[in-house]
């Protein structure tokens, strides 16, 4: 390990790694487009700003040659396979660049009959991590800029993909900030917890960014948009906000892939992924369920065992 | 005796005794299903250590000693309430008669001597005089039972009202009566009757 790498230890990942991944993606994307194996590849193109990246659907070899992978490639691209965004895709098999967490989302969507594995060419990334909400000035990934979810990622290596891009560099163990935060909140007295979340939810402006970026919020009509009956108030007031976030967390329980896009996209910095993580933790404890990179037939809340825990039921 | 454990077997259950009772009374003891109606209506229940239904119960189990030991059978008033009301037509009044007879014969282990004495005197009176003479009966009973003053107050009153005769004569048919007694005794000796 060279000196530079030594320096990066604990504070960042070598840019060369991203370059290598970028090259691998480009060549594979060009190849599959050229072969006609896919009609388009969903990936990342450089953004207008320096060190930025934007999701893109590329249909030509030329465009594919410009695909990148960098710490700024935060988006979960599986989003573009569902919802109204489906319309931007040409017909036929689609290539998609997927980080580990994105891959879990893809698997989840397959389990929910939203996409078919056969319709996809998945370019999986040996992902060292991406940046969080605050990017480093030089666009490199540092301990300060790495996304919280990546600090305790368990999905670095893609499984069951058609192509794997890049090799995983050595990764240093980082303090799991999110897990610590979760533990901290859980340790609070109940009233304090309510106060905490009341404060968080009160900031919500109901921009629905969290819903927009969530690969699993693909419903044609969200329950929370219905007004006959109106189960969740739609105006950004505390009651409706609280209900919305509880309902959202409940609807994602057992489905959430842990990409944390909701939290990243939240303009009000509400720690939404904590809710999702708490539910994932509970379902792991109760039913030994974890989101995986392989499609599962039924989610934990769509099945049951006769001897499920019922200690809470009188 | 009353609370002693009961060992049941063909040996401890005296079925022969029960058969005698059934034969004398002409009534089955097995028919009784222990509803307790006899005891419920018995005017003498309160004076018995085994109420009537239990007497039958003990007979069902062949427990003859327990039946005869108590004074219960002697405290039966022969009012026939039990017999009249028994849902199973168990003629308990006759069963009581039979039990007293068997106890009498066996010079039974009964504790009730007064009633037995009264009966004995009554029957002796018949044998001797052919009819009852109440004064004689009462006096004899008081003498023999040692209760010399019993009902003493009633005597003069009754005498003055002409209710007790001071004197009486033997019935003219007394020989015939004696004959009846004799022939019954003979029959029993020969085993022709119980």
């Amino acid at each position: 390990m060279n000196a530079k790498a030594q320096k990066a230890k604990g504070c960042g990942i070598e840019p060369a790694y991203y370059d290598a991944v970028t090259q691998a993606i480009r060549s594979e994307a060009v190849k599959v487009l050229k072969e006609g194996a896919v009609s388009a590849v969903i990936g990342y193109l450089p953004g207008r700003r320096k060190s930025a990246a934007v999701p893109a659907v590329v249909t030509t070899e030329e465009e594919a040659g410009r695909l990148i992978f960098s710490p700024a490639c935060v988006n979960n691209l599986s989003l573009y396979l569902t919802k109204a965004k489906k319309g931007i895709l040409p017909g036929g098999k689609i290539g998609i660049v997927a980080k580990g967490c994105d891959l879990r989302a893809l698997a989840g969507l397959m389990g929910e009959s939203q996409i078919k594995r056969d319709d996809l060419f998945i370019i999986g990334i040996n992902c060292a991590g991406v940046q969080g909400a605050v990017a480093a000035g030089n666009g490199q990934l540092t301990e300060a800029s790495i996304a919280k979810k990546c600090r305790e990622c368990t999905a670095h290596t893609p499984e069951g993909v058609d192509f794997v891009a890049g090799t995983l560099p050595h990764l240093d163990g980082l303090t799991p900030l999110e897990a610590e935060e979760l533990a901290r909140i859980e340790a609070m007295p109940q009233a304090e917890r309510w106060a905490y979340w009341k404060e968080q939810f009160s900031r919500c402006i109901r921009c629905m960014a969290c819903r927009q970026v969530c690969p699993f919020c693909y419903c044609e009509q969200c329950l929370c948009d219905k007004n006959r009956p109106q189960a969740v108030e739609s105006s950004p007031r505390p009651a409706g906000n609280t209900a919305w976030h509880i309902v959202r967390a409940m609807h994602l329980a057992g489905r959430c892939a842990g990409c944390a896009e909701c939290e990243r996209s939240c303009p009000m910095d509400i720690p939404l992924n904590l809710l999702n993580r708490r539910m994932a933790q509970e379902l792991k404890e109760l039913y030994d369920y974890e989101a995986s990179m392989a499609p599962q037939e039924k989610g934990p809340l769509n099945q049951y065992k006769e001897d499920d825990d019922q200690s809470f039921i009188k | 005796m009353k609370n002693k454990m009961m060992r049941l077997s063909n040996e401890t259950m005296n079925i022969g005794f029960v058969k005698k009772v059934e034969s004398l009374s002409g009534s089955s003891v097995r028919r009784c299903f222990q509803c307790g109606k006899c005891s419920a209506g018995c005017p003498m229940s309160a004076f018995m250590e085994h109420p009537p239904n239990r007497i039958v119960r003990l007979l069902q189990l062949g427990q003859w000693e327990r039946v005869l030991a108590g004074r219960s059978i002697w405290y039966c008033a022969s009012c026939e309430t039990c017999t009249t009301r028994c849902p199973n037509k168990v003629d308990l009044a006759s069963i009581m008669d039979a039990l007293r007879k068997l106890s009498w014969d066996a010079d039974g282990p009964s504790k009730e001597s007064y009633v037995q004495l009264a009966n004995r005197l009554f029957i002796e009176n018949i044998r001797t005089y052919g009819r009852q003479y109440e004064l004689r009966l009462g006096a004899a009973f008081n003498m023999k039972s040692g209760q010399f003053l019993k009902d003493l107050m009633l005597g003069p009153k009754l005498l003055s009202k002409g209710k007790l005769k001071m004197f009486h004569s033997k019935n003219r048919n007394i020989a015939q009566i004696e004959g009846i007694f004799k022939r019954i005794e003979e029959m029993r000796k020969k085993g022709e009757a119980l």
Partner: protein, 295 residues
């Protein structure tokens, strides 16, 4: 009054009617005379054995009764019996001897002759209510017993068990009440019509008798009866002779005259009260009768 055809009865008074129950005998004879009925005592009858005999020796009891019944054959007319105990024993004997072949043979050996027990045995109540008839009684009333509240006491022997005396309903008889109504008296409804007075223990266990008889007296008083009417010399003895001691023992005051039904019937039919043996009883009924203007 003369019946179209004179009815004749043979008569078995029994031991009590010759002693403690003599007023029963007296009033019975007076009544029969008033009704124009013949009544001839069976000569040389002897004791039926009563309760003591059957209590310890049923065969003796049956034999004595069978012999008496046989002797009664000698006298014309159905056998009229006044004493409830004698009536019960004679009927029992008839019933048993007719229904139990073994017993019949044993009885025949005992009395040394055929057990001829066919003679109809009738209680005097039966004769009054059924043979003379209530209508006739009512017709002949001279002195209606108006305003006299009577507790009719049947005791245990008159009706039980139903298949033996065949006198009346064994749990709810009405023969005494029917007769009384015909005489214009007022029978009361009361609880102890059929309860035992304990006669069997009158000699041996008077304490028992006092207790049982007290309940009867108490019940009659509760029913606001002026007097009690009986058909059995043993019952009469317990209720009348022992009434004072019962009162003393229970701190009660009953003063209930005890009538034989024959006395009341005869009175209503106009037999002079002096002929009915009212002087023989312990609780003098005459003040009551005077109060009701019956004498």
């Amino acid at each position: 009054m003369t019946p179209k055809k004179r009815l004749n009865y043979s008569y078995y008074p029994g031991c009590s009617l010759h002693a403690s129950g003599r007023e029963y005998d007296i009033s019975t004879r007076a009544l029969f005379k008033a009704l124009g009925l013949g009544l001839k005592e069976v000569p040389d009858w002897f004791c039926c054995g009563a309760t003591p005999a059957h209590n310890v020796d049923e065969l003796l009891s049956l034999s004595l009764c069978a012999k008496n019944l046989k002797m009664a054959e000698e006298v014309e007319g159905d056998l009229a019996v006044a004493c409830a105990a004698c009536f019960s024993r004679l009927k029992h004997a008839q019933h048993k001897i007719t229904h139990d072949e073994t017993r019949r043979r044993q009885v025949e050996t005992a009395i040394d002759g055929p057990a001829d027990v066919k003679k109809p045995v009738k209680h005097i109540l039966e004769i009054l209510a059924r043979e003379v008839g209530l209508a006739k009684l009512e017709e002949n009333v001279k002195k209606p017993l108006l305003g006299l509240k009577v507790a009719c006491y049947y005791g245990c022997l008159l009706t039980r068990p139903p298949e033996v005396p065949e006198l009346d309903d064994c749990e709810d008889p009405s023969i005494m009440e029917d007769i009384l109504r015909a005489l214009g008296a007022e029978p009361v409804q009361w609880s102890h019509r059929m309860e035992c007075c304990g006669a069997n223990f009158t000699l041996s266990r008077p304490g028992v008798v006092m207790k049982l008889s007290n309940a009867i007296l108490d019940s009659a008083q509760f029913a606001k009866a002026d007097c009690i009417m009986v058909a059995c010399p043993l019952c009469h003895g317990n209720l009348d002779i022992r009434q004072e001691s019962i009162e003393n023992k229970n701190q009660a005051s009953y003063e209930l005259p005890i009538f034989y039904f024959t006395q009341l019937v005869a009175l209503a039919l106009g037999v002079p009260s002096t002929d009915l043996g009212f002087d023989s009883v312990i609780i003098d009924p005459r003040p009551l009768l005077r109060e009701k203007q019956l004498i």
